[in-house]
Amino acid sequence: MSGAHGAEAVVDHAVSMGQSHLPILVILPLLLGCVLVPGLGLWRRRWAYPLTLVAFALSAYFAFRTLFAVLEGGPLHYTLASWAPPVGIELAVDALGAFVAAVVSIIALLVAVYAGEAVRRENPVREVPFFGMMLVLLLGLTGMVLTGDLFNLYVFFEVSSLGGYSLMAIGHKKAPISAFRYLIMGTLGASFYLMGVGYLYLLTGSLNMADVAGIISTMGLNPALLVSLVMMVVGLGLKMALFPMHLWLPDAYTYASSTSTAIIAPIMTKISAYVMIRMLFFVYDWDLFLNVHHIGDIIKWLAIAGVFVGSIMAIGQKDAKRMLAYSSVAQVAYIGVGIGMANPLALVGAMLHIMNHAAMKSCLFLVTGSVAMQTGAQRLKDYAGLGRRMPWTFAGFTFAAMAMVGLPPTNGFFSKWYLVLGGIEDGEWPMVGLILASSLLTAVYFFRLLERVYSKVPGEEQKPAGAEDPSFRMRLPILLLGVGVLVLGLFNAWFVSRVLSQALPHGMSLPGF
């Protein structure tokens, strides 16, 4: 009797809340791939790559269908094992989640296209585990984006981290050391997050994000709530390499193999930033904590310090990948600035920067990977004159570099534009000045590199062998991403008005839309 009643409740819930199978279909191909790729790969090694590609492509396809379904019909829900939330775990996808899931899966698909040949050349024997770990990484990341449960998010967090640690340990001889340091820091971050969840669970008795948000909105300020928020900001800040917790990042990105860096750098820190947005704006009462109690100010000023530290360190680097790694520290910090300002325009800038930085940074890391593979050049001085010898590769690089500096009409311009508008709305003139000044610092190291790439002619003795464009399959993702930064820039109004204006948290609306 009670069972039948429970089933009815589940059905009622399903009808009322936009139930759909789409969210789980984004995760399922990756989950199956994690099992099938190592399994079949042991038997037939050449099957590993096509299977990986199919899993990534299916996941991207369903992520885009989810995005369009959410834009048309509002948030989607999927209850796992038919246990109705808040008791059961549910996948809950709103416009922000669907947007980030689509970005992550498409970037991962493009890197996977590149990886087919790159991994075969870099790690000829270890293709099968490499692709398996790529699937584990993406499984964790999409799971983090789609889940609506606080503890489920922790599990996906650790799944993605395990993939990340093992991918980062492949590459340079020193890679295991930097991967181990990242493991210690990453686990510390995830544990802090879990402790924050523990405090929330102690307070509310629930783990469902929407349910917890509903309960704590009635609580007002509570010291335990503040402690849990601080734990989460520290934990996620560690994972997203927010200044001053960024020290693990440069070594890890520099020593990992080029494909590992190209898939980890653009999306992993961004997903932690997404989780921070999800927690601060959708679970906690953002106005109370970020604006009234000035947590936002702390995040904002630390982040802008991170922008400067990252940019200045990038200027001083001699190694191409290390320069890009420091610039990642700076660029992720822009997202932190948008989070800290906590007004609609700045938050849109932060959300837009998640997508924009993912596109440009993956393009840049794919280029440094191709250059290292074709010519063996890793140091910036070896890049002299490569622009004429690898024209297609460096065409993509040029677009992405322009986007990093923030020149219109590339996408990088628009995310900074919204951040600056947000600063003006708050009347934060020092912050506006600092954001604009930081663009100049970015310009210093990218224009210096572009000048070297295009105008310097290398001396006879340092002319590297094999300096020509890589094969079509490695060139295609670079070019698509290079054109992508332009297209995303030109169509940014569509993203803001159609997608991100729906993605804002309760109580925020974008003026003019």
Partner: protein, 128 residues
């Protein structure tokens, strides 16, 4: 003031243990030179968080969370199973992380012949 300390030690001593474990874990992760000791610190830290959940879920005199006609429908009569379930998952996660970390440590030891952080940093500086 005295009362608070008395109740804290008499009734909430397990929470104090959590705090002590967190401090030991953080200290080992940050200050120890030996990478294995850092890993042990990480495990102590995770253990502290597991303890936090379990201590909070503990009820004196409660039964297993299966409905019993004698005990009736009182929620006080049953344990809350969710934190225990969560922590089983957290233990699995921590074991997996430890496994990856140990694999990395063997790799480091094979390549550099040491797991002492300061010696490793020296070797890193010497090599290109």
């Amino acid at each position: 003031m005295n009362d608070i300390f008395t109740t804290l030690i008499a009734e909430r001593w397990a929470y104090l243990l959590t705090v002590v474990m967190i401090i030991i874990g953080l200290h080992a992760m940050m200050m120890k030179r030996n990478l294995v000791k850092k890993l042990i610190g990480m495990n102590i830290f995770q253990g502290a968080i597991i303890l936090l959940f379990i201590v909070h879920a503990y009820k004196f005199g409660a039964s297993v969370p299966v409905h019993d006609a004698v005990l009736g429908d009182h929620p006080e009569a049953y344990m809350n199973p969710i934190p225990h379930g969560l922590m089983l998952t957290a233990i699995v996660v921590s074991v997996a992380t430890t496994g990856v970390a140990l694999a990395l440590l063997t790799l480091i030891y094979r390549r550099f012949g040491t797991i002492d952080e300061i010696e490793l940093l020296q070797k890193l500086r010497e090599e290109p």
